[in-house]
């Protein structure tokens, strides 16, 4: 078991009224449980605003959850200071959605890559060692090695995303969280990057948590899919099962929408109660009931 999260809750409060006397509350992540095993890629799908990114940020401790526990590689990382979690943090990296803003425009590629080594400065203590590792990673993601002194604005979206992936790989992490990592790219580049991710997975023994709203992309590299809706995981099953026997009405809608290219219907009839739990419907197919 690589990562286990239990009962994660996160709400955002908004003050309204002249003196902020009324607090309205948005439950971004509501009681989410998820287990990720080594080598088992999980796709997290759902519409915009359903809490996918918030969940990813909580796992990385970019946000603090209101309650719940996160266990990574046998260490509870939801508690304790950020600085003490070096081991967990270097084994857990993230690739962001927009390759145009995830690379600092004032940093040349060498600086970008050097930053990836921050948590492993002890191991990669000389510049030549780091240089060697950078070149190795570059060849793994199909980038040429003579780009170190160039700036992000000189690259195309696909190249930038490859640079971002290379940055997250230099410390050989175990878990890579891809937050809509291909969503902002065009279809052809999307396919290239997805193929690349599939290769990298074998080469570096990676596990992905692949966050996307696009079911097709997730289908290609994930063994399991978790469907998220309004802060809750409503269905969790193997990729084949999700595509062949979707059980939850929202999953069905999502699938239909992806195939027919239409928007997801208003799911006003889907309502949650507090006692709903993910229940095994057989063969590891979980449904929120």
């Amino acid at each position: 078991m690589l990562l286990e999260i239990k009962n994660i809750k996160k709400s955002f409060y908004q003050k309204t009224g002249v003196f902020g006397e009324n607090k309205s509350c948005v439950k971004a992540v509501d009681n989410v449980d998820l287990v990720i095993n080594q080598g088992e890629n999980i796709g997290l799908v759902g519409e915009s605003g359903c809490g996918k990114t918030t969940l990813a940020r909580i796992i990385l401790r970019l946000l603090k959850s209101d309650s719940g526990s996160i266990n990574f590689d046998g260490v509870d990382i939801s508690q304790g200071s950020f600085g003490k979690l070096k081991h967990a943090r270097r084994n857990m990296q993230m690739v962001f959605q927009d390759p145009y803003s995830s690379l600092d425009p004032r940093f040349n590629i060498e600086n970008v890559m050097e930053e990836g080594f921050t948590l492993g400065k002890k191991e990669w203590n000389t510049k030549s060692k780091r240089r060697e590792k950078i070149f190795e990673t570059f060849s793994a993601v199909n980038l040429s090695t003579d780009i170190l002194d160039r700036y992000p604005h000189e690259f195309s979206g696909g190249e930038r995303q490859r640079i971002a992936i290379a940055r997250s790989l230099v410390l050989n992490p175990k878990l890579l969280i891809l937050d809509e990592a291909v969503s902002s790219l065009d279809v052809i580049i999307q396919k290239q990057i997805v193929e690349l991710l599939a290769d990298l997975r074998k080469k570096y023994d990676l596990t992905y948590l692949f966050i996307s709203h696009n079911l097709k992309v997730v289908q290609r590299i994930c063994q399991k899919i978790a469907v998220m809706y309004k802060g809750k995981i409503v269905e969790l099953a193997s990729t084949d099962d999700i595509f062949s026997y979707p059980l939850h009405p929202y999953t069905k809608e999502l699938l239909a929408a992806a195939v027919e290219y239409r928007s997801v219907k208003d799911n006003a009839k889907i309502e949650f109660t507090d006692d709903m739990r993910l229940i095994d419907m057989g063969k590891g197919h979980f449904l929120l009931k």
């Binding site: 070096k86 995830s102 690379l103 921050t118």
Partner: protein, 367 residues
């Protein structure tokens, strides 16, 4: 054939844009000349700042002769002056016909230490003693205003730079920290800023100046003024930088740096503050005149740099009486220098803003 294309950072692009602006280049050159003059003041100035000759009080601009008494061309010279009083007891200077003091390059004059190291008495130019050369006239004690202007530039021009660098370091760091952390820290820092901004600048300056002991020597007073001026300037900058870093901290590259494990202070310094640079460079350029004027104002009312040390402000205090301006208009020269410097800094700042504008826009929109 492969053409080598050199990578340019966005900042390098802005600099090449700046080179195309004639206005900006002219003003930058003027500033360059002024600063160059200030650095090599003791060599360029024909006299030291305290070299006085009471017999030449308020002497006007020296008349340089190119033709001698026989009507033939001669090496330029000036004549010694004698004076008599007119009916209003105003001095009238008359040239002594039989004297000739030749103008010399690299002549010997007052002794000084070149750049504080080499003891020498050579000046760029001057006249043979006992004649005196006044390019811009003399002040009440017969000191050369041109020389004093150059010496004064040392104080007036450096106070702007040092003051700005102190207050901007403070403002950038404090604003960056406030914006990046947000919450309580932000609240406390911003209320503090507002307290500073609430008090009118000039009164705060006077109040702080009165806290400086009288026993300070001129160098200590100089430092005190720098500190006072920079103490007033940081708050408004910190506020703006705070606002910018609030938007910048949500950028994905900041999150990426956090995930990579970069420390907070390093993120502020490397990822947040550099993105405010296009704003802050302009703000620096546009706020330097404020420091120069602040020093001039303090010195003018006698609370700043003390005579005989020259600064543009205390030189101007001579010009506070209308009679003096009427009779000896050249004592207004320091005012002109302040005007020139302030204009140049403003134009350079303005041009820089135009050049950095694409960046400025990029950073606000988030492209």
């Amino acid at each position: 054939m492969k053409k080598e294309i050199k990578s340019k950072s966005q900042f390098a692009l802005a600099i090449s844009e700046f080179k195309r602006s004639r206005r900006g280049i002219v003003c930058l050159t003027i500033l360059g000349i002024l600063y160059f003059g200030a650095i090599f003041a003791d060599f360029i100035a024909p006299y030291t700042y305290d070299s006085e000759e009471r017999d030449y009080s308020y002497a006007s601009l020296s008349k340089v002769h190119f033709v001698d008494e026989n009507g033939s061309l001669s090496w330029p010279f000036v004549r010694e002056l004698s004076f008599k009083f007119d009916e209003y007891h105003k001095r009238i200077y008359v040239e002594k016909k039989d004297t000739k003091c030749y103008l010399r390059l690299f002549n010997k004059g007052d002794e000084y230490k070149f750049l504080g190291l080499l003891k020498t008495d050579r000046h760029l130019f001057g006249v043979d003693s006992p004649g005196r050369l006044y390019i811009m006239g003399a002040d009440v004690r017969g000191r050369d205003i041109f020389s004093r202007l150059i010496y004064g530039a040392r104080i007036s021009l450096s106070i702007g730079l040092i003051g700005v660098s102190i207050s901007f370091t403070l403002g950038l760091l404090i604003g960056g920290i406030a914006g990046y952390y947000g919450g309580k820290i932000d609240n406390i820092i911003m209320r503090l800023c507002e307290m500073f901004m609430m008090v009118p600048g000039f009164y705060l300056m006077l109040a702080l100046r009165s806290a400086v002991p009288d026993s300070f020597n001129s160098f200590q007073v100089y430092l005190a003024i720098v500190v006072i001026l920079s103490f007033i300037g940081w708050a408004s900058l910190a506020r703006i930088i705070r606002g910018m870093s609030i938007t910048l901290r949500e950028r994905e590259y900041v999150l990426a740096a956090k995930v990579a494990g970069v420390s907070d202070l390093k993120i502020i310094i490397r990822h947040i503050l550099p993105h405010t640079v296009s704003y802050s460079i302009v703000a620096i350029m546009l706020s330097i005149p404020g420091y120069i004027l602040g020093e001039a104002a303090l010195s003018l009312i006698g609370l700043g740099i003390q005579d005989p040390i020259a600064s543009w402000g205390n030189m101007l205090s001579d010009a506070m009486a209308i009679a003096h301006i009427q009779l000896h208009p050249w004592i207004l020269m320091p005012g002109f220098m302040i005007f020139l410097t302030v204009i140049c800094f403003n134009v350079v700042g303005d041009t820089l803003r135009d050049c950095l504008d694409p960046l400025l826009r990029g950073e606000v929109d988030g492209t």
